[in-house]
Assembly symmetry: C2
Homo-oligomer: 132 residues x 2
């Protein structure tokens, strides 16, 4: 491989992608949200959208791939920017309609140049705490 080195999954075997795709629940547009988290610092970097084919590519190639809703095309993160996301681990949530991907993020995750997409608009909400 020229752009990445991919290795077998955590348990030493290839994931059973067809079975995973059957468990995954996509919305009316055929998409599910993917939360992207840096694997070691645990920063939430961004949220992107995947259809079944983007999910298949993400699980089998070692690189995170999205479906771009604005451009209506597959978008392998980093191909333009160099800011690739290498897959470390992934999980579906309890009802199969959200994906969490832990990655090694090269450079900035955000197109603005920020490390994460959540640095630009911090809201300072009212803080809550359990009653005494």
């Amino acid at each position: 491989m020229t752009e990445a080195q991919a290795s077998a999954s955590g348990d030493g075997s290839a994931p059973d992608v067809e079975t995973i795709l059957e468990r995954a629940t996509f919305n009316a547009d055929g998409l599910l949200p993917a939360v992207i988290q840096q694997h070691d610092t645990l920063e939430v970097l961004m949220l992107g959208w995947m259809d079944a084919e983007a999910l298949r590519r993400t699980l089998t190639t070692g690189r995170v791939t999205y479906w771009s809703r604005s451009r209506q095309e597959y978008w392998r993160k980093g191909d333009t920017s160099g800011h690739a996301q290498y897959v470390h681990q992934a999980a579906l949530d309890c009802d199969g309609d959200t994906l969490l991907v832990q990655v090694e993020q090269i450079g900035a995750a955000c197109h603005t140049g920020d490390r994460t997409c959540f640095l630009a608009d911090v809201l300072n909400p009212v803080v809550g705490a359990p009653a005494e």
Copy 2:
């Protein structure tokens, strides 16, 4: 307040919620995804959906409130389960269509009893790494 103690936001003033609601971008169903993260361990706990009113309640009351798509009603996390989410910080992403909320999670975030919704279906994808 009987169920929570709320205090002023991080900068000492109430957030300008009307301005935030104008910046937030909701989908065709009037919703945006909210990624929920434990504020200290940085675990990603779950993803829920908010409409403008749920976002307003989340930012102003100190407790995370969702719109339940299945039940078509507001759902303040913990009112039934006791597993409340107390708001610590929140941010919109770079294009305003995703929310990240850092919380103090009481007990399990997942309705299954798991601490997070992402423990039940770990996928062991092919692992990627930059080429040498």
